[in-house]
Symmetry: C2
Subunit: 318 residues, 2 copies
């Protein structure tokens, strides 16, 4: 699959940091950035631009805040082919702390929101676009969004200064036919206005990569992945697989394989993500992984059948 419009966005640090409160040391973040840049990836998302009023800097690491000085320290001295991105959440960003694009090393700001918060997301998009940034809106938990609500949101978003609007399968619940339906709906609204459709898949049912391929087939051009699939709970579409599928000669797989063996493999022994049954179960049941995360933190972490029964009962009671 070679399509020049395709942009790959690596979220290793941003999404992976949801496992460990973004407690990555500078050496690790620099190693990831170096690999991503050497691999020719289009964008790298180095974290959130969260407000220190919303999150304590004693609990959370620097990629949670992505202050300008921090980002400059991370990229210092590394050949930089890759544009920088940061993510903001509704209500968790202090806009006065974000410089204008001309004073920042960041190129793109991605606004994450639920379907109910689209109007707030549009406010933020306008703010960051006015400051000179490229912007996207990433619609989370899309497996719970209703089609008419999405139609209304996409109609509004089509009029915004956006590079892309993302389908985010936060729960890892979607199958290919649902992906096809969503991508077609997004493309129909957005493409005529020059806005691309993005895809960010979670891997609860081992469909992170497969569903990303299906989104590409139907026209998605902004593609998220993470190295070795790192990310909260089951993690994400593995970047190394995505690159090999895309076959664009600008990409180079070797630096990614190297950073997996040197950095991600040792990290995986300390913190967990991937195909772990409770996360598969929340994906199967189209639920947020929080119940599975709680289970994995306790002594019953491998009681899969009981967890499944409990979750089924909880759903039936709601």
């Amino acid at each position: 699959m070679f399509r020049p419009e395709i942009k790959v966005v690596d979220c290793t640090i941003r999404d992976g940091g949801l496992i460990n409160d973004h407690q990555f040391d500078d050496r690790f973040v620099r190693a990831v950035f170096k690999a991503i840049s050497a691999a020719g990836i289009d964008y790298v998302e180095l974290g959130y631009r969260a407000s220190k009023n919303a999150f304590s800097p004693t609990k959370f690491g620097s990629p949670k805040f992505c202050e300008e000085d921090y980002l400059r320290k991370i990229i210092d001295g590394i050949e930089n082919k890759t544009k920088l991105s940061t993510m903001v959440d509704i209500g968790r960003v202090d806009l006065s702390q974000v410089p204008a694009k001309k004073d920042s090393v960041v190129s793109m700001v991605r606004v994450a929101c639920y379907i109910k918060d689209i109007d707030k997301a549009i406010d933020l998009v306008n703010h960051f676009a006015d400051k000179g940034y490229e912007t996207t809106v990433n619609i989370m938990a899309i497996s719970n969004a209703l089609t008419p609500d999405l139609d209304e949101a996409l109609t509004q978003l089509a009029e915004c200064p956006l590079k892309a609007v993302y389908i985010v399968d936060s729960f890892g619940a979607l199958f290919s036919e649902q992906i096809h339906f969503l991508v077609k709906q997004f493309v129909r609204h957005l493409k005529p206005k020059g806005i691309e459709t993005g895809i960010h898949c979670h891997n609860n049912q081992q469909l992170g990569f497969g569903n990303t391929i299906e989104a590409i087939r139907k026209g998605a051009n902004y593609l998220d992945g993470t190295i070795y699939g790192i990310g909260r709970a089951a993690g994400n579409c593995p970047l190394e697989l995505l690159l090999s599928f895309l076959k664009n000669p600008k990409f180079n797989l070797e630096p990614i394989l190297e950073v997996i063996e040197k950095e991600l493999l040792p990290l995986r022994k300390k913190i967990e993500w991937g195909y772990i049954m409770p996360y598969a179960i929340t994906g199967i049941l189209n639920q947020h992984p929080r119940a599975a995360m709680a289970l994995r933190a306790g002594k019953d972490k491998d009681k899969y059948a009981e967890f499944y029964r409990t979750l089924l009962n909880d759903i039936e009671l709601t």
Copy 2:
């Protein structure tokens, strides 16, 4: 996806045994059989019917040979909703040792072959059909088969006493568009003769489940899976995911989750399968996993970038 024609075939013991020379003790095999039967799976493949002249019974465990007495011991006293299957390889079966169906607990014999050996496979199919068994042909390494060769093979197979002919992505190399192409080709030849198309996917690129879904969408009705994805190298389509996708009320997920926590998880700590980079790399390069298996057995088992470079060079030299 509910389609009454769909048959699910569990290969946990047969394909999983390729990791450990089928050294599963009877207790483990009975636990798997019990779970599969309680889950309502259509068929369970308990091993190969290999000849003891071809494989030493001191090196290989009982599921390699699936002698009648062994199989009766395994299923004894367990409520049996599930039909038994065994697999045979070309040139590795002693036909005089296989009883007629009326004297066997086995319902189905699956003949595994490469595209070059189709004529030999047809001989075996005729033999087993004459003995009263249901039969399938499973075309291995199909990512290396040429379309005209497949057309010729399918034309012949369409005239045989077969339940199904399988697409076997042995190297875990295929993407969805290739799966679509193959399933359409198979269905076109086979369906008019009442023969179903089967799918057996390996999971090297985390597409075992995704490609099985794509095969189902295009008409495949015989579906292979293994519990917790166990199988040689990267393993197979995880049965637990497949069941939850199919949503047929005859299937029950809980017994599978229970046997994962009680049997598969402890086993996974002793022998490895799944998303392991060298197996992903052989999948990406459409190669047999043997080089990756050799790497994993040695001290350089996590030198992914070097392995990738070496394999690329080897391919270019051939």
